[in-house]
């Protein structure tokens, strides 16, 4: 629709573009600042010289970060949590969503109501914490993997998607003698790749970023995920631990540089894949927005 714009509209469009560009700068700049700081000399950062480009380019901070055992072991743990956790999430969410999407399942609405209710009311932190201890999951990988294994919201999204698959397709497979497991595995899942992709991403990103359950359920540092190590370095400023034997001043300076390098090391995997996955995320939010 090409129409003539009034002077007022031209001014508005111009201001709008400027305003949104300023916003985009504000969204990007903090990340850019961290990136250039991670390659800068710590003295230059501390004296405020770093703004847009690295000053006295150096990769010393990265050397220290990659030399640190805690970073490597927690990276490994995070991989375990992301892969195993996401797998558990997907299996349970799918196996819950598919039966509840079938029209003729007796008792379906009651079970559905029980699931939806958990979105609005829960036992809360303390009973959940005691539950994990009581089940003997405390200080094991399972304490991270099992609580929160199904998101009621994602289950509803998936169920809505399954409901859009033509009933006749499933009926005909049934007549051919396939049982429900086979129908789900061989017919429904291949048709549901978009929603599976979205769920995988949502679950995997939340595992990658999660830290609170690790903080309350884990004591053994060998089980810590990356985010918990980041917390020690970024929030509790324990980067000094990486630098035993250095002078006080050097320790302080280097710990500043290490902070930026660890942020980059911990964030790059997601930011690198992000542009490729972006359209799925948007699709996911939209599927979630469909009202039944």
């Amino acid at each position: 629709m090409v129409t003539k714009r009034s002077p007022g509209e031209i001014v508005f469009d111009g201001l709008n573009v400027v305003f949104l560009l300023v916003c985009s700068f504000a969204f990007l700049y903090p990340m850019w600042y961290v990136l250039v700081s991670s390659f800068s000399d710590p003295y230059a950062i501390a004296s405020g010289q770093v703004t847009f480009w690295p000053i006295d380019f150096t990769i010393d901070a990265y050397k220290l970060v990659f030399d640190d055992d805690r970073i490597w072991s927690s990276y490994g743990n995070t991989m375990i949590y992301v892969v195993a956790g996401t797998l558990i999430n997907l299996v349970l969410t799918t196996m819950g969503a598919y039966p509840l999407s079938r029209t003729n399942l007796p008792g379906k609405s009651v079970l559905m109501a029980l699931i939806v209710f958990t979105m609005f009311f829960s036992g809360g932190l303390i009973p959940s914490y005691l539950n994990v201890r009581e089940l003997g999951l405390y200080d094991t990988y399972w304490a991270i993997l099992l609580p929160g294994a199904v998101s009621a919201f994602n289950l509803i999204v998936m169920r809505t998607f399954f409901q859009s698959i033509p009933e006749g397709l499933i009926e005909s497979a049934k007549i051919d003698g396939a049982n429900d497991f086979r129908i789900l595995w061989q017919m429904v899942l291949p048709l549901s790749m978009p929603v599976i992709a979205v769920m995988t991403l949502f679950y995997a990103v939340s595992h990658w970023n999660s830290w609170f359950s690790a903080m309350i359920y884990l004591q053994d540092p060998n089980l810590y995920p990356l985010q918990l190590i980041l917390r020690e370095i970024l929030i509790q400023s324990s980067a000094q631990n990486m630098l035993s034997g250095a002078t006080q001043d050097a320790v302080f300076r280097m710990s500043e540089a290490i902070k930026y390098a660890t942020i980059i090391v911990a964030t790059v995997p997601i930011l690198v894949i992000y542009p490729f996955l972006q359209k799925y995320f948007v699709k996911g939010v939209m599927i979630g927005a469909i009202k039944e």
């Binding site: 196996m95 039966p99 003729n104 699931i115 609005f120 914490y129």
Partner: protein, 322 residues
């Protein structure tokens, strides 16, 4: 068996119900694989969602791990009374409410406005690039975001350097040490984190509006502002209301995550909220019953707010969650 047959024969209504029952049983049997499939997921909800709800009973007991769940004595509403009378009660309620309320009145409309402005861009290409940039912060982990906040707001951090450099302030401000800055930092960083992501859903709603409406409006001589008022805003209203209800239902559930990472005893005065208090008293000090009671109080208020907001919206606009 003979007795049953006789009774059935004498009461003509009975066979139909038993037939119905038999039919239901047949349907359940026919779907046995579906139930089997559903079992692990339902077990999850039972063990990790409903069992903790049942575990809330300890809020009415004096829970002692050695005496166990059932061995611990009942104390009725004692923990609730203790909480309501404590010095912390009003402070926690005020902080929880204010932090949520400021987030709601700033981030919620900002996300809508951001979506509307993006939608007004004439270049498709630019729109999609700016959109992509805007939800980048959503993927950065909270720990990293808080690490950045801590670093940027230090007295020699980039924010203070900028403000001093521009002559806006003469002395660096200790943002994270001064209680009066906590809410500003919390909401301001929240704005950065979530505006882009929140706007996705409005952009989806905007793209669902029938373009013919705009063409008709242009023919009728409506300018862009008139189109906004009469077509665009009514078009996204249902989406806005649903999200508003959900937000109101969460008014008292400010998460512990960001606050735990950013606060310190010096800023408890403005930063300590119900969930952080529950975490400190419960997990760190092992005062289980008392903090379970505080958590339950919080959940009940949230649930009530949600139900009320939903009812109001259903009555006034016919939009509701259920």
């Amino acid at each position: 068996m003979a007795m049953t047959a006789k009774t059935l024969a004498s009461r003509p209504k009975e066979p139909t119900t038993s037939k119905k029952l038999a039919r239901t049983w047949r349907r359940i049997a026919a779907n046995r694989y579906l139930y089997l499939m559903l079992l692990p997921t339902m077990l999850y909800f039972l063990i990790f969602e409903y069992k903790p709800m049942y575990g809330l009973i300890i809020a009415f007991k004096d829970f002692n791990p050695y005496a166990g769940f059932w061995g611990s004595p009942w104390v009725g509403f004692e923990h609730f009374e203790k909480f309501f009378e404590s010095y912390y009660f009003w402070r926690l309620l005020r902080n929880t409410f204010l932090i949520s309320f400021y987030s709601l009145i700033i981030i919620f409309p900002a996300s809508i406005v951001f979506a509307l402005l993006l939608n007004e861009l004439r270049s498709r290409k630019m729109k999609s690039v700016l959109q992509t940039i805007s939800y980048l912060p959503h993927f950065i982990s909270l720990i990293v975001i808080c690490g950045m906040i801590i670093d940027f707001t230090k007295s020699d951090g980039i924010i203070n350097s900028l403000l001093v450099g521009l002559g806006l302030i003469s002395e660096p401000i200790q943002f994270l040490i001064l209680p009066e800055w906590f809410r500003t930092l919390y909401v301001g960083s929240g704005l950065w984190q979530s505006v882009g992501w929140n706007s996705i859903i409005y952009l989806a709603a905007l793209s669902g509006i029938n373009p013919n409406l705009y063409e008709a409006a242009v023919v009728d001589g409506a300018n862009r502002w008139k189109q906004l008022i009469h077509i665009t805003l009514p078009g996204i209203l249902p989406t806005v209301l649903i999200l508003l209800i959900l937000n109101i239902g969460n008014l008292l559930s400010v998460g512990w995550d960001k606050i735990i990472l950013l606060y310190n005893p010096g800023t408890y005065e403005t930063a300590d909220v119900i969930s952080t208090f529950v975490y400190r008293r419960g997990v760190m000090e092992a005062d289980y019953s008392f903090s379970a009671a505080v958590g339950l109080f919080n959940s009940i208020i949230n649930f009530t707010l949600l139900v009320v907001a939903n009812a109001i919206s259903r009555r006034t606009t016919k939009n509701s969650l259920w």
